[in-house]
Amino acid sequence: MSLLNVKDLKTSYGPVNVLAGVSFTVEPGETYALVGESGSGKTTVIRAIAGLAPAQEGSVKFDGQEIRGASERTLRPLRKDIAMMFQDPVGSLSPRLTIGSLITEPYRIQGMKDRDLDAEAKRLLEMVNLPAHFASRYPYQLSGGQARRVGVARALALEPKLILADEPTAGLDVSVQGELLNLLNDLRERLGLAMVIITHNLNVVRHVADRMGIMYLGRLVEEGTTEAVFHDPRHPYTRCLLSANPEPDPDARLERIALKGEPPSLLKRPSGCEFRERCPFAQEICTRTPQWEVDNGHGLRCLAPLHEGRAA
C-alpha cells in the first residue's frame, strides 16, 4: 500500500479551477518531486494534502486513511506523521518565539509535555548541524540557510513518515544549497522518510528525487522516474522546461526550445490540449483532449509525444 495516494484531486476557488484532477502516489521512503511554474497548482496540491487548502473533489489517502475534507479531529493524530516545510524560511517561524521553542512546538501542540523539551531541542539542532546555543536565538537573527535548517528540525520533531517541502532551496545561495540538499538526503536515508518536494528548479530535482511529476495548469502532464524524465522527456512542456536551464558554461550550446507567450489565464482554459497554443510541436491532432496514459511506469498526457527529443 502506498504511503500517500492522491487521486483525481480537484480544487476550485469560485470559477477558477486551480487543480483539475491530480493523481500520484508516493511510497514509503521515496522522494517525489512535483515540478511546475507559477500557476501550475503545485503549491495548492501540497497545501491540500496538509489540510491547509480546500479540495472539493478527489481523494487523498495517507496510510490507507482518507484525509481529503477530513475534520480537524480526524487530522490531528496524523499531524505527527505528516510535516510541512514552508517556502519563506524566516517568515514561517513565529517571530517572537525562540528557536528552541519553535522546534519543540510540535510536542506542545500534541500535548506531549512529559518530554524534556530542552533535550529534544538540542537533539534536533544537532540533527541539522546547528550549534546548541541557537536555541536561545530569534528568527530575525538567522540567515536564510540557518532558518531553513530550523524548518527542517521542526519538521522532524515528531519523527514523521512524510515531509512536504515547498521550494526548499528558494532564495538560498548556490554555495549553501548543497548543504540543505545533502542534509535532506542524509535524513531520508537515516530515518526512512518519504518526501514530496515542490519546486520549479529542475537542477535540484535531479539530485534529490526518485520520481517526478510535471504540472501544467492544474494537471499532471508527465510523470516518471527522474532518470527517465531527464534523459527522455516525452511531453513538449517537459522538454521546454529542461532546455530552459542555462548552463554555467559560456560555450554550451543548448538546444533551447522556446515557449511561445505566457501561460493562459485559468479562467479561459484553451480547448483540446491546454498546452497547444504554446507548444512548438503542436499538430492537428492536438485540438482533441489528451488523456492520461501510463506506459511502463511513465505517465503522459499528450497526443503527439516526443521520442528522443524529436516530434513523433
Partner: protein, 285 residues
C-alpha cells in the same frame, strides 16, 4: 549574542532619547508618583472643610488657596490625580483587554461571528458617549465605578477594530500557516502566536487614549455625572471653579492645568512609544 537589555529596557531607552518622549516620561512619571503616594503628599485632608478659611488665594499654607468650603485646593488637585488614574487605568486597560480578545476572535473566527461582533462594535460607537453616560447614570446613579464602566464600554470598539485588522493581516502569514499545519488549536494560535505581535500596537493606542479618558472623566464630573462629591476630581474642581471664577480663579487653574499637563505628557509619551515600537516590530518580522 546575548541580549544586553531586556526588551522593556530597550523601549524605555528609545523613548528617553527623544526629547518629547523624555518630557512625556517625566510628566507621566510625576503624575503617577503623585497619584500613588497622594496620601502622603497632601498637606491637608482633601475633604476636610474649614469654612473659616474659605476662598483664600495662594499662600504658604495653601499653595493654590482654598475653595468655597475651605478645602485646600492643592490637596484636592493631587488627590484628583489619583481619582483620574483610578478611572483611566482600569477603563483603558479593561477596554484594551476586552477589545483585544473580541477583535482577535472577530479576525480569526468564522465570518458570521465577525459580522456579529462588527455590528456590536458599530452600535456602541454610534452612541454619543455623553448621552450613553446620561442613560447609565440615570439607571444606576453617579459613582466612580459607573464612570469606569461607561468609559470602558465606549472604548472597546476602538481596540477591537485595531486588533481585528492586525489579526486579519497576520492570519495569512506563513508562520500562522505553519502552526496550522502542525495542528495548533485556535486558542494556541491566538494566544501564543498572534497576541504578542498585536499587543504592542494596542499598548501604544492605550497610552494615547489615557488623556482622552482623563478628559472624559473630567467632563462627566463637570456635568455632575461623575464621581460623587466630596471626592475630588479635576472636573469637579473645574465645575466649582467655573461658578466661583470671580472670587477666585485658582480653582479653575487647579482643575484645568493638570488636565492639560496630563494630556500633553501622555500624548508625547504615546507618540514616542509608537515610534520606538513600530520599526522594531517591522524588523522582527
Amino acid at each position: 549574542m546575548a541580549k544586553s537589555r531586556s526588551e522593556l529596557g530597550q523601549i524605555i531607552h528609545g523613548v528617553a532619547r527623544d526629547p518629547l518622549g523624555l518630557m512625556g516620561l517625566i510628566i507621566v512619571g510625576t503624575i503617577v508618583f503623585c497619584a500613588v503616594f497622594a496620601i502622603w503628599i497632601v498637606p491637608y485632608d482633601p475633604v476636610a472643610m474649614n469654612i473659616k478659611d474659605r476662598l483664600q488665594g495662594p499662600s504658604a499654607a495653601h499653595f493654590l488657596g482654598t475653595d468655597q468650603l475651605g478645602r485646600d485646593t492643592f490637596s484636592r488637585v493631587v488627590m484628583g490625580g489619583q481619582v483620574a488614574l483610578k478611572v483611566a487605568l482600569p477603563a483603558v486597560f479593561g477596554a484594551m483587554a476586552i477589545g483585544l480578545t473580541l477583535g482577535m476572535i472577530a479576525g480569526y473566527g468564522p465570518k458570521w461571528l465577525d459580522n456579529l461582533l462588527m455590528l456590536f462594535f458599530d452600535t456602541i460607537r454610534s452612541f454619543p458617549t455623553v448621552m450613553f453616560a446620561l442613560a447609565v447614570v440615570a439607571l444606576v446613579g453617579p459613582s466612580l465605578q459607573t464612570v469606569v464602566l461607561v468609559v470602558m464600554a465606549t472604548s472597546i470598539p476602538t481596540y477591537g477594530r485595531v486588533a481585528r485588522t492586525q489579526t486579519l493581516t497576520l492570519r495569512n502569514s506563513e508562520f500562522i500557516l505553519a502552526e496550522r499545519s502542525m495542528g495548533a488549536s485556535m486558542k494556541r494560535i491566538l494566544g501564543v502566536h498572534m497576541l504578542p505581535n498585536i499587543v504592542g500596537v494596542l499598548a501604544v493606542l492605550a497610552a494615547m487614549d489615557i488623556p482622552t479618558v482623563i478628559a472624559l472623566e473630567a467632563g462627566l464630573s463637570f456635568l455632575g455625572l461623575g464621581v460623587k462629591p466630596p471626592t475630588p476630581s479635576w472636573g469637579a474642581l473645574l465645575k466649582d471653579g467655573y461658578s466661583l471664577i470671580r472670587q477666585t480663579p485658582w480653582l479653575v487653574v487647579g482643575g484645568g492645568l493638570p488636565i492639560i499637563l496630563a494630556t500633553l505628557g501622555f500624548t508625547f509619551l504615546g507618540e514616542s512609544l509608537r515610534d520606538v515600537v513600530d520599526p522594531k516590530l517591522r524588523k522582527q518580522r
